[in-house]
Symmetry: C2
Subunit: 156 residues, 2 copies
DNA sequence: ACGAGATTGAAACATTATAACGTTTCCAGG
DNA sequence: CCTGGAAACGTTATAATGTTTCAATCTCGT
């Protein structure tokens, strides 16, 4: 994420937390910044490594606690299929997200497609199932990678 | 899964593998049986414990290899959000599945809702994304648990 | 300032998954 | 039969991910 966009995202996050009475402490803010600065999803231990760069020795719970907070606040998302985390691209918009995860370059597109959400809700309700936490992740090849590389079955 | 249904499922699996030239070895069959006998999804190490019951000392790769085979053949599914595995309820039907996972009782409903799949495909294609492996899991409360228990905000 | 509750630090531990290497089993072709 | 290559399996070790626990510290309303 570019510097200005990053600053904007962090400001939005701070505003949201203030408004909700949640505390975006320096540590949590730092984790959010690391997440948003990076295009790819990051594993908890990758985040930990970056947090430690100021030579401080931090333990895993530090990161997981910050992540828990960010997830609760909708400022970050967990990608279950990747065991990794990513900064939310549309913080504040209360929505259900779907993720398109490129298996080649690792980049992630975050959608909130109402049609998908509705269909899922319908399918669940039809079985008397009350969905609380949807996990919708499509692993595949993004447009950039598809055009940049030969098809998997291409000779040569 | 009931005994007869289990036997039928294992026969179907064997037939499918034979037809494909894949080898459903005793070990793989045993893992499939363990998976199908159980209502809930099982973690790899839970399967391992059951495999070991005949006092043999097996190591994790044994289970993971059997699971890889079963996943490839569409005889089992991995539930990413649970780090667990479940026997396929409709082996042979080439389909994309969605899973409704009850957070209370742990039971799983496997769907293959065409409407959901199509909507997802559309959303992906609109971004030039070619989906290869969909992960669609809804965590929530199943009908049985919802009726059996008081609402979460119910006093008493 | 004070105390309740939230946050953080730190060590140990638990769980899930894979790497690496060698051995056995299967089976098609000679 | 028998044998050579591939697939399956066994075993040890280790990587990667996530949690429990307890103590120390900070924050904020009163």
């Amino acid at each position: 994420m570019a510097a200005e966009a990053l600053a904007r995202t962090l400001d939005t996050a701070a505003a949201l937390c203030a408004q909700r009475g949640a505390r975006l402490t320096p540590q949590r803010r730092r984790v959010l910044e690391i997440l948003c600065r990076t295009e790819r999803p990051l594993g908890a231990y990758e985040i930990l490594d970056q947090l430690r760069e100021g030579s401080r020795a931090l333990a895993p719970p530090t990161v997981y606690r910050a992540l828990d907070f960010l997830l609760e606040q909708g400022l970050a998302h967990r990608l279950e299929s990747q065991h990794a985390f990513i900064g939310c691209r549309h913080p504040g918009c209360a929505h259900q997200s779907q993720f398109l995860i490129c298996a080649r370059c690792g980049r992630v597109i975050e959608l909130s497609d109402a049609g998908v959400s509705e269909r899922l809700a319908m399918a669940a309700r039809a079985r008397g199932f009350e969905a609380e936490r949807p996990v919708v992740e499509l692993i595949g090849i993004c447009a950039g990678c598809a055009s940049a590389e030969p098809a998997p079955d291409c000779p040569s």
